[in-house]
């Protein structure tokens, strides 16, 4: 609509500056040293929502980081869209690999570089600005509710409780989320599925103290060596996960579905070049698109033990640790998988060590029905502004709460993401293209329009 175009053209720069301000707040939910920043970020989101025209805006406390809620009910008989996003971000380390400080956003070659630029501040903020556009131009065609949380990067542990105790307030017809990516601006796509997650932390203890590797070396189990052996055993020679029962219930796609999935553009040479690897690695019998989309995986996210400082220390460490997470697909339950992992890891530990296994958090996988009215509205909206119909793809990432929305609120979710896989989510130099940011703001109002129209039919 021309009024939208005009309004957005007029306020373009302010939209960007407001986002940069949000990006300057180091709202790292995983690191308690940033609790004050996270709180400050929630307050900033509240203010932005009010300025945009939302009502009953509130910073709702939880046992962890607060959830920001706001709404605009133009007519209770109209359809309602619940917009979900998160203002918390991943830890920025390793800091030394950033070309500019993670919380001092800079714009280079038409990209915003900062932690959270794409995941998810840059993306949820598109919704705030699209909402503002419709409000200020008196064109909002449906009711909108915002729920912006602060614990997505640490498993949304308190969101479930919040949903349970706010069912009335959160009543809606669909959940709309921009926290995923598309193939490219030239090849728009919509994620129709997300992998689930089970995140574990393991500890292996050998001797009760660090030992002199000369005096005791060779006579006592070395926890770092044992941990290495245990991790090594979690994949077989075909890179299948060896945890008994891990694949039970995994929904295999039909040959036709796999064929369609593999039609999405993918250039292996380009992929390898971008990652700087000579060879890809993964589960035998599946393509890269399948390995990252429809297959469950197990990855070591971190490992540490013994002396890791400068120079040499001839120590036989007392303890070694690892963070290990599994991506899950439809048919797998994250609680069951966490239990299977724990039981297996404890079982394979030799008697010469003690192991501890703790589940950090997790979430169930999710698949969007492509025949859902809201999915069609998203598809139409993107076709409108991109001039191309988006390709449905399976995303490898996880937004644990999507399954929760269905379970607690009975709501389907549409994942209308505008990021790119090359945005370095969770990595140094995270970025978000200005073009994608503005394209998102331009597209979202059309979603509301088509969804409202469709609902009336």
């Amino acid at each position: 609509m021309q009024v939208w175009k005009d309004y957005q053209a007029q306020h373009k720069d302010r939209f960007l500056n407001e986002l940069l301000e949000l990006l300057r707040i180091p709202s790292v939910s995983a690191d308690s040293r940033h609790n004050e920043d996270t709180k400050r970020c929630a307050e900033a989101v509240k203010q932005r929502l009010e300025e945009a025209g939302a009502e009953k805006v509130e910073v709702c406390p939880t046992a962890g980081h607060p959830i920001v809620y706001g709404e605009k009910i133009i007519d209770p008989s109209f359809p309602t869209v619940l917009v979900y996003g998160h203002y918390d971000v991943q830890p920025p380390d390793p800091l030394d690999l950033w070309t500019s400080p993670p919380f001092e956003p800079v714009i280079k070659d038409g990209k915003i570089f900062a932690r959270g630029a794409c995941d998810d501040k840059g993306q949820f903020y598109m919704h705030v600005k699209a909402f503002e556009t419709m409000i200020k131009t008196n064109t909002l065609p449906c009711n909108v509710k915002f729920m912006i949380e602060g614990e997505e990067e640490v498993g949304s542990n308190n969101l479930g409780i919040f949903l349970d105790s706010n069912k009335e307030r959160l009543k809606a017809d669909v959940v709309l989320i921009s926290d995923t990516s598309m193939i490219s601006l030239d090849t728009p796509s919509i994620d129709t599925g997300l992998r689930g997650l089970a995140y574990m932390e393991v500890g292996v203890t050998g001797p009760n103290r660090d030992l002199h590797s000369g005096v005791y070396g060779g006579a006592v189990a070395n926890p770092a060596t044992i941990l290495a052996k245990m991790i090594a055993s979690l994949h077989d020679e075909n890179n299948h996960v060896t945890i008994p029962g891990f694949y039970d219930g995994v929904q295999e796609l039909s040959a036709a579905e796999r064929k369609k999935l593999n039609e999405a553009p993918f250039d292996e040479a380009e992929y390898k070049k971008d990652l700087g690897v000579e060879e890809l690695w993964g589960e035998k019998g599946y393509t890269t698109i399948e390995r990252t989309g429809i297959r469950p995986t197990l990855e070591v996210n971190g490992i540490w033990g013994g002396y890791t400082g400068e120079g040499a220390k001839t120590v036989l460490p007392s303890k070694a640790f690892a963070k290990i997470s599994m991506r899950l697909v439809p048919g797998q339950d994250w609680v069951k998988i966490s239990d299977l992992f724990k039981a297996h890891f404890e079982k394979i530990a030799p008697k010469s060590v003690k192991v501890t296994v703790t589940a950090h958090h997790g979430g169930s996988p999710y698949v969007t029905p492509t025949d859902h009215l809201a999915f069609k509205a998203a598809s139409q909206a993107i076709t409108e502004t991109f001039g191309k119909e988006p390709i449905p793809v399976r995303g490898g990432g996880s937004i644990p709460i999507v399954a929760l929305f269905e379970k607690v609120l009975g709501l389907k979710t549409v994942l209308m993401g505008f990021g790119l896989d090359s945005d370095n989510l969770h990595s140094p130099n995270e970025k978000y293209d200005l073009a994608n940011f503005y394209k998102g703001i331009e597209t979202i109002p059309y979603f509301h329009q088509y969804f409202a129209e469709g609902s009336k039919k």
Copy 2:
């Protein structure tokens, strides 16, 4: 001798306080942030040697940390003992496991707790005080030279050059070192051998940047997983090291020698209880005494990669690292073993990652001839003050320079150590029993006496 007893009884407390002063200097050679402390420690040692009666005392600069030299030549025709020790210490981490600050020595239950209390400040200082005793009572029976270095804990990289360029000054009949342990005060022992050392650092690089484990998980080799698999493969199911050629030339002991070796008192239940482990672990076919004494070993001293902070970060790391060291026995050359390790580690790396292998430092193994005059003198001295003949045992630790003394100076070394395996060398809460400290000061003059007498025959 009574005069010795009297003098030492009279100055007992001062001896201890002087040691505590040395222990307050954090001379951590591996950590460049402590370079100034290390220098300060060398100056303190110089001053102590002069006060004790040494002459031509000098802090000799090297490419690394300085070496302190001093001597007392009573008669060039008399035999000369070269006393070696080191004033540098291991890094104190993990700091949080110390019950008192590592560089603020405290005395509890008759033990000195501090980094370096036993290794090696407490032990080399016994020699300074024993020397003082003989000087002040005009009973020094031979010439004594001191060489106290500052790089033992980082491989004595500059000692070889120093020996080479100071052959004349270092001329002696034997090297005497207290940097090892004995079974107990009730069961005195002397190390007749030391293991060599080859210390390596490895790095494994997968993708050129940290990746989102959801977007890329399952499609790219995870360097932490690959490193784990590579480390796991370095021992077979019998805990033999799998590096081709690793055992080539290893001198096997005769059945008789092994029998004698295993006669040393060893209580497995006590050993396990002390370490808090349910089961011991090691190379099949060998006893614990053999595993730590006459067999080569491979230990992971440190491992790190990915996210190791608080909470969860769903990252697929770009790099993972490990510090791996091997203890070597007679017949193994540390340079050759370092090369074998490098070649093997590079060979087993899958094409999906890049590996780097660097040799930190190393040293050759050494065996003391028990028929050597100086060994007999040490044995006699201990018998004199302990009332029991010491048991000859094979030590598992490494003092790389011992082999160097033989190669460059043509000198045999006697390892008259007064520490205990329970002294937590290289671990938190390192300690040295006051009883051992004083017993050493009491014993050392007898070594000089018997060695001088024996040499005259």
